[in-house]
Symmetry: C2
C-alpha cells in the first residue's frame, strides 16, 4: 500500500474514533458523516448542546484514551432492514442506508472497539498499533448543513489534523501558522497590490499601480527569455463565435465553465477560456514552408472561466485569469528541440525565485484509450521523446499514467516554496489533436503537405495564481528586482530635500523604481512607512551625508549598510537588479 | 444659409433631376425615393429594364441637358386624395403618401421644370443658376430593396456624386481613387498585419507578429509620453457585474451595445464597453489626501461592443476595440493643468505622423440645461477654463454649442491625413458626473471631504481605428520608427552570408528590428520581396563591400545611399528612429 493511501486510511480511522468518542461523551448525539480529507478528517454530528473550540481538548484526550482499545477493524455485510434497525433513530444514517440500497450496493458495517459505523471501508487494520496518538489533533468546530444544503439542518462539524508522526503534525501546524501570516489576500491589501469591488464582482481582481508593476516585471522577464528563442507576440480578442470551440472540441469539454454571450443579432459567442484555438487561426492565415517552421506565437492575455462563487479565493482561484500563453507550431521532428527551449525558459524563470523544480511526466492510460484523442502508437512515440528529453536534462521525473490531457502527454513542473508547500507551476503540453482538427500543415522538403503539431507552453500559467504563491513565498518582502518600489530617498529634514531630489533623479534616470519622501514628517515616520510598504532600500540624506557628498544606504532587513557615493549606490543596486539576487 | 446646408440642397435637387431624367428616358419607370447623401445623392427606381454602369453616361448627359430648363422650384400643399390621384399607379409614392397622412403631416409636391415629386422640401431655389453642371456625376448602379427590407421588391439605385465645383468633384474622385489603392484591408493582408477568421467571427481581428509589433510600438510611444506626466498603469478585467453600469449610468445609455453574459449561477455580467467605471473602483479602494492628488491611471485594454454585422468594416469598425485609455482623478482646481499635460501628449504623438491638428470645443446648450448633469454655473466655469487653456496653447478652436456629452465639456482633436481626409483622433473629456455617482472624494487642506472630477483621455482612442488611418495615411510605407521590419541585410551570394550575419547581429544588438535574407535566391528576388514587404532599408553585402569593410545602404523609396561602415549605418538609423523622421 502506498504511504499516501495508508495515511488516508489513518485519517478515516480517526474520523471513526472521533465519532465514537463524541457518542460516548454525548450519548444523545447523532452521527452523520465522517470522511478523511486533505491533512486530516472531520465528523458532522447533530449534538444535543452547542460546543466550541474550547471543548476540543477534552474530546481529543478522550480519543487518545480510547485509541489503545481499538485493536482492529472488522466488518460485516448486512441487509437494508438490519442496517435500519441498527441505526434506528438516526435520520442521517437512515437516509444514507436507503440511498446505498437504492443503488443496489452492498451495505457494510465497520466495527472497532465497541463502536460500529455504517461505512464503505478504507481503514488501517490495527488502529491501536498503527496510529501515533500524538500524530493527530482536533483543530476547529464549524457549522455545516447536512449534505451541504442550506435547507437542511445545521450540524456541528469537528475538524482534525492527522499525520504519521508528531513531528510531521507539528511541521504542518507551523506551516499553517506561517502561511496565515503570509496570506496573500492580507498582504495584497497591506502592500496595495490589488483590490476587489462589490460592483465589479468576486473573482475579478482590479490591479493597482504597484500590483500592475509586479505583473509587468514578471511578464517582461518571461518575454525577455522567450525572445531569445524566436517567439513573436500576437494579439487576439477575448471572444469568439462558438464555432471555433466546436471545431477545437472545447465546446464539449468546457461547456459549463464557458461564459456565453448572445449578441443582439442572436449569434452565440463565448469568452475564451484558453488561447490555443485563437492562435491556430493566426497560424492558419497562410500556407507555410518547412523553412519557416516553427512559428512561435506568444500572448499575455486574460482568459475567463465561469467558476462557482464558492470556489473563488483571493488570487488563487479567479474568474479573470491572465495567462502568459504561447504556442509553438512545429513539425513532429522539432518537438524535442522546442520542448528543450521551453524547459530552459522554465528553469531560468523559476530559478530566479530560488525554486527547486520537480518534474512529473503525465502519460496516457493504456486501459482507457477511449478517453484520449488519437491512436496509442502516436502516444507512445511522443511519450518516449519526452522521456528522452528528461534523460538529456538529467532530471528525475515522476511518471503519472492516466494524468495526461485528452489531447497529448505533458511535462509538469512543481516547485516548493519557502515554507515547504508544493505548487504546480508550469506545464509543457504536446498537442497532436488541435492541428488535426484545424487541419494545420506545412509544406515539407518533398513539396507535400505535412501535418504539424502544437506545443502549449505558458511559463507562469496564471499570473494571478503565481503572484498568490510569490507574495506568500516572500511574505511580501520581494527581492530588489521584483519590488514595485525599489528605493525611497529619505531626507532627514526639509533642508535636505534638494540634495535628496538630485539622488532621486539619478536613480530614476538609471531606470530604478525610486521615490523620494519630501513630506515634513520626521525621519522616524518616513523609515517606518517605507518598511511597512516593504520598500527594498532607503537612502537617508542628512547633514553629514551632504558634507561628505555621500548618502547612507539602508536595507529593509539588513539595516544600515554605511555611507556611499551615489555612484556606488547605483552600481550596487544595478548589479543586484541585473543578477536578480 | 451655411455652405454645407446649401450643398445638401444642391444634392437633393440633383436627386429630383435624376428622377425626372430617368422618367423621361424610361416612361414606364416608377420612382420610389431620392435623398441627398454624404458626397452626393441617389434615386431608387423600379425600371422596366435592367441597366448597368454603362448606361450612366447617357443619363448624366440627359441630366445636363435638362438642368438649364429648371429655372426654379415651386411647391404646393395638397390633400391626401389629390396626391394619390397624382401618383396613381406608383405603389411607392402611394405608400409614402398614406404614411405621411397617417402621421397627420402636410403633403407637399415640389415642381421644377416639368417634373413634380412628392417631397418635404430642401432644394436650391434656382437649380439652373446655382448648380454647376460639371460639379456632379453619376457613379454606380446598385440593387436596393424597397425600404431596405429583403421581403420587398428589389429596385435599381443610381448613385451620383455632387460638389459645388468641377474642381471639388475631381479632388474628391481622386481622393477616392487614392484611398482605394491604400485600402487598409488590402494592405493589411499584403503586409501581413492582421487577419480575420470565419470561426472567430467578423469584427474580431487577429493580429499577426508584424501587426502586433506595430500596435506595441504605438502603445509604447503613448506610454513613454504618459510616464513623464506621472501616469501609472493599472489592470482591469474585461467583465463586470451589471451593478457597476447601473451605478455609472451606462446600463441605461449603452444597453443594446453591451455584450451580456449570464453565469451558470444565474448572475448577470457584461463585457466592458469602456474602462472608466472599472478605474473608479481602483481609485475608490482607499481614502486619499489632497497631497496624493491627482491619481492618473492608464490601461491599454480591449473593450467590446455588440456592433451590428452590417456596420463592421476592416479595422474601422470592430467589435473588439483596443483602447489606450487613461483617467485622471483630480481636484476641480487641477483640471486645467492636467488638461494641458494631455494636450501636450496629443500634440507630440500626432505630430510624429505629420498630422496638423484642428481643435473643437464641445460645449453645453444653455437652452437645454435639463439634458446635462450639474448646474450651469459649474459648466460655464469649466468651459471658460478650457477656453483659457486653448488661448494659452495659441490654438484656434471651433466652438460647438450643444455638442458636449451630458457629463461635461470636451476638447476634440481632428487631423487631416496625407490624402486630405479629416479624422477625429483624440478627445479630452471633463467628467463631473461619474465622481458624483461613485461618490469619489479626497480630503482637502481643511480636513473636509471634497468631490473630485475625472478626465477621460485616450490618446489613440482605438488602436484598430488609428491603424486603419495610419496604414492608409502612409499607404503602407511606414516611416522607419514604425516599420515592423526596419532593415533587412541582403548578401549578394551565399559566400557573403557570414559577413551579412555579422552586420545583422550588430543591428539586433542595437535594438533595431533587423532580418537577414540567407536563402540562395539571387539578389534581385531578395530586393523585390523586401520592397513588397515595405522593409524601410536594405543593406546589400557583396564582394566590393566586404573588401572595403563596408556595406551598401538602400532605402525603400530613396534608393541607393552609397557604401558606409556598419557604424555609420547604425548611427544614421538610430538617429532616424530616435527623431521619428
Amino acid at each position: 500500500m502506498k504511504s499516501e493511501e495508508k495515511l488516508e486510511h489513518k485519517r478515516h480511522s480517526l474520523a471513526h474514533l472521533l465519532g465514537a468518542t463524541v457518542l460516548e461523551m454525548y450519548p444523545k448525539a447523532k452521527l452523520a458523516i465522517g470522511p478523511a480529507i486533505e491533512n486530516g478528517f472531520y465528523y458532522d454530528i447533530e449534538l444535543p448542546e452547542t460546543i466550541s473550540d474550547n471543548d476540543l481538548p477534552k474530546i481529543e484526550k478522550a480519543m487518545e484514551k480510547m485509541l489503545p482499545t481499538w485493536k482492529e477493524f472488522t466488518h460485516k455485510e448486512v441487509t437494508e432492514a438490519e442496517a435500519k434497525k441498527y441505526f434506528k433513530g438516526n435520520p442521517y444514517k437512515l437516509e444514507l442506508i436507503e440511498e446505498i440500497a437504492g443503488k443496489g450496493e452492498k451495505i457494510t458495517l465497520y466495527t472497532a472497539g465497541e463502536f460500529t459505523d455504517l461505512c464503505r471501508g478504507g481503514h488501517v487494520e490495527h488502529p491501536a498499533k498503527e496510529i501515533d496518538p500524538l500524530g493527530f489533533t482536533l483543530v476547529r468546530v464549524a457549522g455545516a448543513y447536512w449534505r451541504g444544503d442550506e435547507k437542511n439542518k445545521m450540524l456541528t462539524r469537528i475538524y482534525g489534523l492527522a499525520f504519521d508522526t508528531k513531528e510531521e503534525l507539528e511541521a504542518y501546524e507551523k506551516q499553517i501558522e506561517e502561511a496565515k501570516k503570509r496570506d496573500h489576500k492580507k498582504l495584497g491589501r497591506e502592500l496595495d497590490l490589488f483590490t476587489f469591488s462589490d460592483l465589479v464582482g468576486a473573482g475579478l481582481p482590479l490591479w493597482t499601480p504597484k500590483g500592475t508593476m509586479l505583473r509587468d516585471i514578471l511578464d517582461n522577464f518571461v518575454w525577455e527569455l522567450r525572445q531569445k528563442y524566436g517567439y513573436e507576440k500576437v494579439d487576439i480578442p477575448h471572444i469568439t463565435k462558438k464555432d471555433l470551440y466546436e471545431t477545437s472540441g472545447h465546446w464539449e469539454k468546457f461547456k459549463t465553465e464557458l461564459f456565453r454571450i448572445e449578441t443582439r443579432e442572436g449569434h452565440e459567442f463565448v469568452m475564451k477560456p484558453m488561447n490555443c484555438p485563437h492562435h491556430t487561426q493566426i497560424y492558419a492565415r497562410k500556407p507555410w514552408s518547412y523553412r519557416e517552421m516553427p512559428q512561435r506565437y506568444a500572448s499575455t492575455t486574460k482568459v475567463y472561466r465561469d467558476e462557482q462563487s464558492g470556489e473563488l479565493s483571493g488570487l488563487s482561484r479567479v474568474r479573470a485569469i491572465t495567462q502568459d500563453d504561447a504556442h509553438v507550431f512545429c513539425r513532429q521532428s522539432q518537438v524535442k528541440e522546442e520542448m528543450e527551449k521551453i524547459w530552459n525558459i522554465i528553469e531560468t524563470f523559476y530559478g530566479a525565485f530560488g525554486f527547486a523544480l520537480q518534474v512529473r511526466l503525465s502519460l496516457h492510460d493504456s486501459q482507457n484509450m477511449k478517453a484520449y484523442l488519437g491512436d496509442e502508437a502516436t502516444w507512445l512515440k511522443a511519450e518516449n521523446e519526452l522521456r528522452e528529453l528528461i534523460k538529456e536534462k538529467v532530471a528525475k521525473a515522476i511518471e503519472a499514467p492516466g494524468e495526461a490531457a485528452f489531447y497529448g502527454p505533458k511535462v509538469d513542473f512543481m516547485a516548493k516554496d519557502s515554507i515547504g508547500r508544493e505548487w504546480q507551476v508550469a506545464t509543457i503540453q504536446l498537442d497532436m489533436n488541435m492541428p488535426e482538427r484545424f487541419d494545420l500543415t506545412c509544406t515539407n522538403e518533398k513539396g507535400e503537405k505535412e501535418r504539424i503539431v502544437m506545443l502549449h507552453c505558458a511559463i507562469m500559467g496564471s499570473i494571478e495564481r503565481l503572484l498568490s504563491v510569490l507574495i506568500e513565498h516572500y511574505a511580501g518582502n520581494f527581492p530588489l528586482w521584483l519590488s514595485p518600489v525599489q528605493v525611497r530617498v529619505l531626507p532627514v529634514r526639509e533642508s535636505h530635500n534638494e540634495y535628496a531630489k538630485e539622488i532621486y533623479k539619478k536613480l530614476r534616470g538609471a531606470g530604478i523604481r525610486a521615490e523620494v519622501a519630501l513630506e515634513d514628517i520626521g525621519l522616524g515616520k518616513k523609515v517606518r512607512s517605507a518598511k511597512e510598504e516593504r520598500v527594498s532600500y532607503f537612502i537617508i540624506v542628512g547633514d553629514k551625508d551632504i558634507e561628505a557628498k555621500k548618502a547612507t544606504l539602508e536595507h529593509r532587513e539588513k539595516g544600515n549598510l554605511g555611507q556611499m557615493s551615489t555612484e556606488e549606490i547605483l552600481q550596487k543596486l544595478m548589479e543586484e537588479i541585473r543578477e536578480k539576487k
